[in-house]
Amino acid sequence: MTVVAKSSLIGKRIPKMDAPEKAAGKTRYVQDINLPGQLIGKILRTDRVHARIVSIDTAAAKALPGVYAVLTAADIPKRGLGVNKDNPPLKGDKVRTIRDEIAAVAAETEEIALEALKLIKVVYEDLPILADPRQSTQPGAPVIQDAKPDNIAMTFDYAHGDVAQGEKESDVVVESEFYLHYVTHCCMGVSGIIADFEPTSGNLTLYSNTQVPFLHKREFSEVLGMDPGRIRIIQPPIGGGFGSKLDIYPFEPIAVYLAKAARRPVKLVFTREEEFLASPTRQPALCRLRSGAKKDGTLTFRAVDILLDNGGYTSWGATIPFVMMQTFSSLYRVPHCLFHTKAVYSNNPYAGSFRGYGNLQATFTVEQHMDMLAEKLGLDPLAIRMKNAQESGEVTGQGMVFTSCGFKECLTTAASRSDFARKFTDYAQQQSKPGNKKRGIGLAAMIHVGGGAKIYPSDGCGTILKMDDFGHVTIMTGASEIGQGSETVLAQLVCEELGLPLDAVSVVNNDTEVTPWDVGVHASRTTFIAGNSAIGAARKAKDKILNAAAKVTNMTADQLEMRGGFVVRAADGEMVMPLPKLLRSLHFSDKAELVMTTHYYEPSSVHQDKKFMGNVSATYAWAAQICEIEVDTDTGIVTLEKVTAAHDVGRVLNRMGLEGQIEGGIVMGQGYALTEDLMVRQGKVLNPGFRDYKLVTAPEIPEMDISFIESMDGEGPQGAKGVGEAPAICMAAAIANAIHNATGVRLTRLPFSPENVYRALVTAKGGVVE
């Protein structure tokens, strides 16, 4: 008898499936693809911040040999892009931000295209600049978008309970104003697209970096005024996403219009400078927060007023309040909560979605207030959080339902592994000792959606699964791979169902002609949603296989199982037949059949109502992160030494992939807090390059101690939750709390650059820095 042992890939360290090709330099990103006959597209961007366009003269550019198309707003339909449809791909009447697209060229070579741009003459009439969002709603402020004369792009209001009542019940109240700055994604692969339009058939093929191919299909069809059925989106591997590819941006329809006009494929790729100037940022915010608590630390209320600088146009940045309000209303039990946000137009750059989607900003304020309340009440930071932390079974004021919740375990794990309590007290006592090197430790915690986010009517994902005659499985999934490792996790989950080794599975995820619908890669949803979808398809295949095997073995399907590429007897693992043999016997029989299944998974979450009530995600991810730092009080330099992180991940699927996500997120959060700063002054971006925009480099990373809390979510794939965004969220708040622990000074404005920290320390002592 041959027994096939049970084996599982869940929780193992599985290398990313596409890593070998990437490490050989074979992977072809959009930048690396060239189509026959392709032209190079380039965009003329304005150097004005706010100006009326009097005239654009393209005659000389058009006359340049090698130029095949020159377009301005006059040549294309007047349709706007983005959340408020206020962003025309090419601007015709006026420019509102420094990067505004005013003309585009397709030419034989990049050199000629750039030459042609120089020949375009634009006459402007400058308009008064609105650079400070606090001025946007003042009487007499320049109007940025004629359709919104009050300069208000969007407002969000949410409330539960009665904050006045909460305030009455409070023994202590704290109030502060926080400022969160501009940072940008800095994907190592710059933005790019190739548009291939065939005028006779009307077929449009896009080679695109999008994270949301199916939503883009619809949006492209609206913007271009064409049949969505004619649009095919092919997604080459992406050099980083982080939320930046969630909206359509002007360069994409511009490339299509150029391809249409020139009747040749057009490739349009940014320079790094363009990437800094013309891709979306993280949403800057000015937050006023008031929080209260009783003597024993019980939270009483939170009142939040947030001003978002929407810039000249509206992309996803304006909608971050969706996510922010969850942190205010539901990270802790808060009986009374009032939340108001206003996104106002200005002549500054505009923000898109960025990993964490408003939660870095919200957590920065809430988690500093937890420490401030604790300090006033003489409690320690861990105690006040444990007192108010959510638990399984809770339904929050906003209607979020916490089924699996490992929040308290995250807090206690991170605290004990970092020796938080002792260090916190020690460092606080050493504040007043002589010496310029001060050590500090700070804690912050977070909640984030972990089971998708139903911000569209469907938050689903489709899978098509097929098996060949040799037992090889191909999964066609709607879920895009953006470097996060989703393809490997999906393969693992299918292997688990079908008892197959990893190399028996391949994943196709890059062509809308082939793959079924998915809402897109955002909201940390892919493992959860696409994972459940893939499991559904695999279970149907398994059913088919075991039923077929039952017929030829005189056993019932439930007496059989799949293991190691065999059909085996469930009771003892005795080999019944190799899987390929069974598949062939199904295929080459009288009733010839192939094993092919489909599954569409829709999570149990709900689309929130107009008051933002409802359980928007099927589950929630939790985390606590503790940062240890050293502050040099003579220079303001903050060194991040160690991060102790505990994340409720539901269940570990791919341990290595998960660690990679958490480590990468921690370092991204470190950059947000300490080094990155897109300097925008009077609407101008002062540092559009890596020389002056500092990403964290290898020597600066902290020691990282990462723990996974496995709360085994009931609806999650094998119990897992999504965590892609979680690790970046707490960092700035934890570092702020650590700086306070080290120096006794509370920093409420990001970034914590040496200059800002030094100024704050001197000012707190009553000094003046000129």
């Binding site: 360290r13 290398p15 990313k16 596409d18 890593a19 070998p20 990437k22 490490a23 050989a24 330099g25 074979k26 992977t27 072809r28 990103y29 930048q31 690396d32 050199e111 994604h185 800095c186 994907c187 190592m188 692969g189 710059v190 591997p237 992406i238 050099g239 980083g240 996403g241 982080f242 320079t271 790094r272 953006i482 470097g483 996060q484 490792g485 290595m656 992939g657 660690e659 990679g660 480590e663 990468g664 997120g665 921690i666 370092v667 991204m668 390059g689 890596f690 020389r691 990403l695 964290v696 480099t697 290898a698 020597p699 990373i701 990282m704």
Partner: protein
């Protein structure tokens, strides 16, 4: 069309000729004229390391080098490293230690690591961190890349 200069050099071990405009970067030559797209453009100003190649065994940002400067030199790109089984240990270490996510920085990281290991066959963690200072990665947080280089160095005679 701009004037071109004819240059001869060794590319990944093979003698190569190319006609290049004088202002062209080595990066653009590799990608657009020779057609080796493994070497990446990340910034074009020597700040990210995505374009790292070896020139006579030294690591160089190819975006800062003129193509004409390749004349008479031995150039190695990530494709050249991948073609030599002697480098499999390094490449496998990146794969097995999780040093690759989106992979855009990976070719530059691998070439830089090759150089680093040629200088320090048994590097300390600090030497690895310093050695990779000029290579940006937005995905991994560097830890697994550092571990990959350390692993590749293990067992090196």
């Amino acid at each position: 069309m701009s004037l071109t200069v004819e240059i001869r050099f060794t590319l990944n071990g093979s003698p190569t000729r190319a006609a290049v405009p004088p202002g062209l970067t080595a990066l653009a030559m590799l990608r657009d004229i020779v057609g080796l797209t493994g070497t990446k453009y990340g910034c074009g100003e020597g700040e990210c390391g995505a374009c790292t190649i070896l020139v006579d065994g030294l690591s160089v940002n190819s975006c800062l080098m003129f193509a004409v400067e390749c004349d008479g030199r031995a150039i190695t790109t990530v494709e050249g490293l991948a073609a030599d089984p002697a480098n499999d240990r390094l490449r496998d270490a990146f794969v097995e230690e999780g040093g690759v996510q989106c992979g855009f920085c990976t070719p530059g990281m691998i070439v830089q690591s090759k150089y680093l290991l040629s200088q320090h066959p048994h590097p300390s963690h600090e030497q690895i961190r310093r050695g990779l200072e000029g290579n940006l990665c937005r995905c991994t947080g560097y830890k697994k890349i550092i571990e990959a280089v350390a692993k590749a160095a293990e067992g090196t005679p």
